[in-house]
């Protein structure tokens, strides 16, 4: 056991020193319910990295005491909305931040209730890593499998299963290994690229910041050590050049004349001056004259850099076009096969329904041509008789768009493979979509 109570002794904060110049950024999503100790874990990570402030803690202690909670309810730290505090539930993704000298972390903390698939999908969409918690006493539950499935659907590259409350099972290696084996077997079916399993006690601090002395049989890293060192740079796709044009910069100025630059964020690949490129959907080719930022030209651009690309030839290019390579281009497709997670409670997805679709910097209209099946995310059973998708339901659809999308399969490219569906009458974002293929 490392520490009994929340103590700042082990604290390390993002220092002011030169380390900051080398810190990178890791985004992770957490899944699990209050019962699994997720809020305690997040509270501890924040506290032990000095990211939790005394006035925040005092406010939480005061509210806990007023509600008659027997312990300081760290869930109150993230449950910021009045309705959440009143009902004792978490209704939305909360973003939390902490840093160590190595890394800045963004936590997308998603509620674990069954009805909140929408939130989990949202949090996982930008995550480099997902952290799933289970209670060591209960082992895997339906919800753990569901979370693992959603992480694999959203192609989160790294998964960490935290077997929590190890103190309540006498730090039993046998209990841990049984859960770890069961989860590993399940994850193998899901195509999870990288899985780490850590036995922890969020309450006692075991294997959170430092290795626990109570579990000498565990030879892996403490959780924070793993979060700090997990290699994420190679998760980025540096092979397929995809540069969705976001905005055309053309200064109306007397000092800068004849300037035309294509601004955007590199979705994947590496762009360098001199590279031969193709612009879609026109198919025109040119060469990159320069890759610029406000701080001057750069030798190359790669994800997630926001840059301005200039080409040697004057081509008609506008927002929604895509710069790629002549021998490596995305599909130019109007028929899209996709997995869709429906997120709207007011109206279900229906075959024949017409929607707006937002994909990279391009917006189109789309009609749902078919619903192949609805997926039961607990059993992975496919219900081919389904006629619609309701809130939090996932299914495979076929869409036909008014203009071509410049698209890749989501499994190959999360930026050029993901889209959202918008209801044109309510303007609500009603679904998230992941392209499976472009037949």
């Amino acid at each position: 056991m490392t520490t009994e109570t929340l103590t700042p002794d082990s604290a390390r904060s993002a220092a002011a020193g030169p380390e900051v110049r080398r810190m990178d950024l890791l985004r992770f999503a957490t899944a699990g319910s209050v019962d699994d100790g997720k809020s305690t874990l997040i509270g501890r990570l924040l506290y032990d990295t000095k990211s939790l402030f005394t006035d925040q803690l005092a406010a939480v202690e005061a509210v806990s005491a007023a509600r008659g909670d027997e312990y300081t309810n760290l869930a109150l730290l993230t449950d910021g909305l009045r309705a959440e505090r009143e009902q004792g539930i978490t209704i939305d993704v909360a973003y939390r931040y902490f840093a160590t000298p190595r890394r800045k972390f963004i936590i997308a903390d998603t509620p674990g209730h069954i009805q909140y698939t929408r939130n989990m999908v949202t949090g996982a969409s930008t995550a480099d890593l997902a952290l799933i918690l289970v209670d060591a006493r209960k082992g895997l539950v339906e919800q753990s499998r569901r979370h693992a499935f959603l992480c694999s659907l959203l192609r989160v590259p790294h998964l960490v299963l935290c077997v929590n409350k190890m103190d309540l099972v006498d730090y039993s290696q046998e209990v841990f290994e049984r859960i770890a084996d069961e989860f590993t077997a399940f994850a193998a079916k899901l195509d999870v690229p990288d899985l780490t399993v850590v036995p922890i006690s969020a309450l006692k601090g075991d294997n959170i910041v430092t290795r626990s002395e109570s579990m000498p049989w565990y030879e892996g890293p403490a959780l924070l050590h793993h979060l700090e060192r997990v290699h994420i740079a190679s998760d980025r796709n540096l092979v397929d050049v995809r540069f969705p044009v976001q905005y055309v910069i053309r200064p109306q100025s007397t000092t800068v004349t004849d300037y035309r630059g294509y601004a955007g964020q590199v979705a994947s690949g590496v762009l360098k001056p001199g590279d031969e490129v193709m612009v879609l959907p026109s198919g025109f080719t040119s060469r990159i004259a320069s890759v610029e930022t406000a701080d001057g030209p750069v030798a190359e651009a790669f994800p997630p850099m926001s840059v301005t690309v200039r080409l040697e030839d004057e081509i008609d290019i506008s927002r929604g076009d895509m710069i790629c390579r002549p021998n490596n281009a995305p599909a130019v497709a109007q028929d899209i096969e996709a997995m869709v997670c429906w997120m709207d409670e007011t109206r279900p997805l229906q075959v024949g329904g017409k929607y707006a679709i937002k994909h990279t910097t391009r917006t189109a209209r789309a009609i749902v041509r078919g619903l192949h099946y609805r997926l039961d995310i607990n059993s992975l059973h496919r219900d081919e008789s389904a006629a619609e998708l309701r809130l939090n339901e996932i299914g495979r659809v076929r869409l036909r768009t008014t203009i071509p999308l410049l698209a890749d399969e989501y499994r190959r490219n999360r930026t050029t493979g993901g889209f959202v569906i918008i209801d044109e009458t309510t303007n609500r974002t009603v679904a998230a979509g992941m392209i499976v293929e472009t037949p």
Binding site: D24, L81, R428
Partner: protein, 303 residues
Amino acid sequence: MTATAAYQVTHLDALEAESIFVMREVVAEMERPVLLFSGGKDSIVMLRLAQKAFAPAHIPFPVMHVDTGHNFPEVLDYRDRRVAELSLHLVVASVPEALASGLVRESADGMRNRIQTPVLLDAVEKHRFDALFGGARRDEEKARAKERVFSFRDEFGQWDPKNQRPELWSLYNGRHHPGESIRVFPLSNWTELDVWHYIARERIELPSIYYAHEREVIERDGMLYAVNEFLPARAGEERFKAQVRYRTVGDASCTAAVRSDADTVEKVIEEVAATRITERGATRGDDRVSEAAMEDRKREGYF
């Protein structure tokens, strides 16, 4: 861009790239954006990001200052210099003018934080702004921790936290009907420390009150307030000189200073890294009203 290793970027570069992406999305998709500029450090960083996002062109939208009339002179001076230097178009939404015209009335406690909301909304309506860049960060306050980067406001400028649009990947939905608008927070994922690291890296000038200086103050509710025409000392309150700096810059009648010897950006970073109290908790009288003070103001249209 400073690559840490092959094809890796630092956290500041990643944050900068994301913010620039957000600003370009707004300009590409919205009709009439405006940047809310208070002269505070977050809006100053936002302005730098806007410069970078559209260089070598000028910033393609105006800036708006919601002027409560309770200003720090150093901040007003800074605002005017920046506006001139960048050839910006400045819109001032004036609380004193709104008081004079009867749009709002002074609140009982004399604080103008709450009454600036109708003034802001009035200016939005008058100028038909449909996208407002705000410098709010999710680490500031827990009601903000759940706000979207693109935050939808109805025709009354209201935020409905239970009815927010899901925000996935970097696909932002700015669609709205006439009269409705979107608040956009490009610094959503920045922390106070990130902002200071960026200010240091970019060598961004700030109003001098962000750095330690000697000032005549009074202590009220455990916080140090500058004595000035908007905040006279009450009977029994002792005026004394202290070495202070401001962690946030807001209305001069409700923004407190903190004791500090940090007179350079490096020293401020050390101080922020070591501090154990949030910036709003330490310096904002307006957030101490209730557990849900921020949520309530945001619902009404505060930014």
